[in-house]
């Protein structure tokens, strides 16, 4: 039997619906590119995506209220399912915000793909369950909310930077070849100069929040476990992610590092991030493991 997280009680039904909205939006962006940039498709897709965002906000409210109703009193940011749906939520939020400042319709294709993938994983993977279960007692803390929100906003920004990096690499490699020839696909991608700047701006936002989130995490660990740093795999991978984007920032001011290499770092950084976020939990058990709750000796 196919496993699926679809329940109106815990709000997962609304996330499942939002998954189909994201597919719709993705399809819209595909049509936008295929039609050579008919604005109407991009507009519909964006409208659908804003609708998705509103629906997901509602779904979070439902989940949160439900957790209070059944006496768990925790924000729904505890297990793998929670984190995946929240990830898709911040990725969509990030794109909508970026869209206000830039004419980045082509980015929508990548963003809806990533947000859709996260939601598909949340809804259909047997590893993820939408049941609201009490988390480990260590999670019962007001630090949780700030730690998770800061880090996931950073994740959202880093995801956007990866999407922008991909667009940059497509555009930049072709820009020279087709210098004079009009290419209707490439024309839909903003100029590489704008992309380069957007990658930087998105990454500095992500880096700032990543720093805040990790410091909060250390303070919380100090309060809950008696040590601000334990070289737990998740912590170590968070450090690696942080160092990767620190590398990006230093490369930016170093001569000889071209925009193309910067875009590659943005793309590579995202893959490290996904490993730090999901790979660690699924492959390397530790203090932060939420794939297998209760198996660790730590309370």
């Amino acid at each position: 039997m196919v496993h699926a997280n679809i329940s109106s009680l815990d709000g997962s039904l609304y996330f499942a619906v939002s998954f189909f909205l994201i597919i719709l939006s993705f399809t819209g962006y595909v049509f936008y590119l295929l039609s050579g940039g008919k604005k109407i498709f991009a507009k519909i897709s964006l409208a659908v995506l804003i609708g998705t965002f509103v629906l997901q906000t509602f779904a979070f409210a439902v989940r949160w209220l439900y957790s209070y109703k059944i006496g768990i009193y925790m924000p729904p940011l505890v297990d793998l399912y929670d984190s995946l749906v929240f990830f898709s939520y911040v990725v969509i939020l990030g794109f909508i915000l970026l869209r206000i400042f830039y004419d980045f319709d082509a980015l929508g294709l990548i963003i809806t793909f990533i947000a859709g993938a996260a939601l598909a994983f949340a809804t259909f993977s047997p590893l993820a369950s939408s049941l609201i279960e009490p988390g480990l007692p260590a999670l019962k803390s007001y630090w949780l909310l700030y730690h998770i929100i800061a880090l996931f906003l950073a994740y959202g920004a880093f995801t956007a930077s990866c999407g922008l990096g991909i667009l940059f690499l497509i555009k930049f490699n072709k820009e020279k070849k087709f210098q004079k020839k009009a290419n209707r696909f490439l024309n839909l991608i903003p100029s590489s100069g704008i992309l380069d700047e957007a990658i930087y701006k998105v990454i500095i936002f992500g880096f700032l929040l990543d720093t805040v989130g990790n410091v909060i995490g250390a303070a919380w660990a100090d309060n809950a476990w008696g040590g601000y740093w334990s070289w737990d795999p998740k912590e170590t991978w968070a450090l690696i992610t942080w160092l990767t984007y620190a590398f990006f920032l230093h490369a930016k001011i170093t001569r000889g590092w071209t925009e193309k290499r910067m875009a590659w770092i943005a793309v590579a950084g995202f893959f490290l991030l996904v490993f730090a976020y999901l790979g660690v939990d699924i492959l390397l058990p530790g203090l932060h493991s939420y794939a297998t709750p209760g198996t660790t000796p730590i309370l």
């Binding site: 007692p137 260590a138 700032l208 410091v215 303070a219 601000y228 795999p233 170590t236 690696i240 390397l284």
Partner: protein, 474 residues
């Protein structure tokens, strides 16, 4: 002497380069990854079993089993710190000069414009006007000071060189970020040098004055004498309705000179701090198997004035005296639960020979207000066993940490975060203007050089707008 100077200057160049920092970012990350793949800090025996003696030896000598304390990882950390300090100290004087005492003379621009690799960092404009240099100078002061701040001026005769600069002070913020990180590192070092994380298990009801440092080799860590005694008054696990643990709670008393100084319940996220030490809930367990609390009532002896009963905490499978001559009993569990759903029974023994097994019965009527069913077993109208619950022999695992210097780490973190914000969102904006009579003799030449050290496209757009506005006036 000369050789030493060369070596020193080369060392300084090496340690002050950003490229070294980038190489260190990669190396630290790469080494860290190994530690996430191989479990760290387990007893050596475990590794021997996992990897076999040969691979174990290789891993051991490479330091992979305790990589975050290996000499090369610490060396990388040291190198990183030196790099951070030298690099910052090396650049700060230059940055100070740019902020407080910049060279305001307009650079010579070749006739074919600025070089390609400079074009991303600066934008160059030149045009002619019919207005006089004096007029243009006052117009540019009016227009540019709005967006580019205060100006400095170097003028001689009819030539003006103007330099506008805004937010220059924020050029120092990256160094403040570095300072924050150095403060964090200092806090970490102080914590390692003067702090500790020690562990102790205390049985319920007992007190201890010692805790133990974890040792990587065999967990027989060094003993630490605490400045007070800790007594575990009570340990309890609280559960949600569905059986998931909700909280692990230890009620602790701090005892000094045989006096209880304070009593407090601790749980995860809610430690107890006293006398420079912090006590955390770390684990729990049973130091003895759980036992059944059985109340034995001797019916052979009812005439005596004293109601003849006593309590036995019976571990499953162990023989206990009944209080009646020669009769012993054992409390145990059925392999399959009995028909009435009570999973345990009593066996009666005499001279190590089992006489019979007796079942427990349940009477819901006589429980009354307590709402607890009375579970009891009767042996031949001589003896009643009342099951009065389970006695658990808990110990609580405490972590006792001395981390008096963590406040330095948090101070460093706050410095780092605030300075990151300023270094990201407050950019130094400069514009240079040179105004001089045209060489042709007619009108005035104006040259403008605008720079952004972050190579931002949008910034140049804004400059373009300002320049266009400026052009309208002249």
């Amino acid at each position: 002497m000369n050789l030493m100077m060369t070596v020193l200057s080369k060392l300084k160049k090496f340690f002050s380069s950003i490229k070294l920092a980038m190489v260190l970012f990669v190396l630290i990350s790469a080494v860290s990854v190994i530690g996430t793949i191989i479990d760290q800090g387990d007893p050596l025996v475990v590794y021997k079993m996992m990897y076999g003696p040969f691979v174990f030896k290789i891993l051991y000598y490479l330091g992979f089993l305790n990589i975050y304390h290996s000499w090369y990882f610490i060396a990388l950390g040291g190198l990183f710190t030196v790099n951070l300090i030298v690099c910052s100290l090396d650049r700060i004087p230059k940055t100070f000069k740019i902020i407080f005492n910049p060279d305001i003379s307009f650079p010579n621009i070749p006739s074919n414009g600025i070089k390609e690799n400079e074009s991303k960092k600066t934008k160059y404009y030149n045009f002619n006007s019919l207005k006089s240099p004096n007029e243009i100078s006052s117009i540019s002061k009016r227009i540019f000071s709005r967006k580019f701040g205060k100006h400095r001026e170097k003028s001689g005769g009819k030539q003006f060189e103007l330099y506008f600069s805004k937010n220059g002070i924020f050029r120092l913020s990256p160094y403040a970020v570095h300072l924050g990180i150095i403060v964090i590192i200092a806090g970490v070092i102080l914590n390692i040098a003067y702090g500790f994380r020690s562990y102790v298990n205390i049985d319920e009801g007992l007190a201890t004055r010692y805790s133990y440092l974890p040792s990587d080799k065999n967990r027989n860590g060094k003993q630490i004498k605490l400045p007070f005694k800790i007594r575990l008054d009570r340990y309890a696990t609280k559960y949600y309705k569905d059986g998931m643990p909700k909280a692990y709670i230890s009620k602790l008393s701090i005892i000094k000179k045989r006096k209880v100084i304070m009593t407090k319940s601790i749980r995860v996220n809610h430690p107890l701090a006293y006398d420079g030490l912090t006590i955390y809930q770390a684990s729990y367990g049973h130091y003895l198997p759980s036992a059944a609390r059985l109340v034995l009532i001797n019916l052979t002896n009812m005439k005596s004035a004293v109601f003849n009963k006593h309590t036995v905490f019976a571990e499953p499978g162990t023989l206990y005296d009944t209080g009646i001559n020669g009769l012993k009993f054992k409390f145990d569990f059925y392999k399959k639960p009995g028909t009435n759903g009570i999973p345990f029974y009593i066996s009666i023994y005499k001279n190590k020979k089992r006489l019979r097994n007796i079942n427990f019965l349940e009477n819901r009527r006589i429980t009354g207000a307590r709402k607890f069913p009375l579970v009891f077993a009767v042996y031949k109208k001589r003896l009643i066993f009342i099951f009065a619950g389970v006695k658990e022999y808990y110990y609580s695992g405490l972590e006792i940490a001395k981390n008096s210097y963590t406040w330095i780490i948090w101070t460093g973190s706050i410095i780092m975060i605030i300075s990151l914000f300023f270094s990201f969102y407050f950019n130094h904006k400069t514009i240079r203007v040179k105004i001089y009579p045209s060489e042709s003799g007619k009108g005035t030449s104006v040259e403008i050089l605008a720079g952004s050290h972050k190579k931002m496209v949008s910034y140049y757009k804004k400059i373009d707008e300002t320049i266009n506005e400026f052009k309208n006036y002249i």
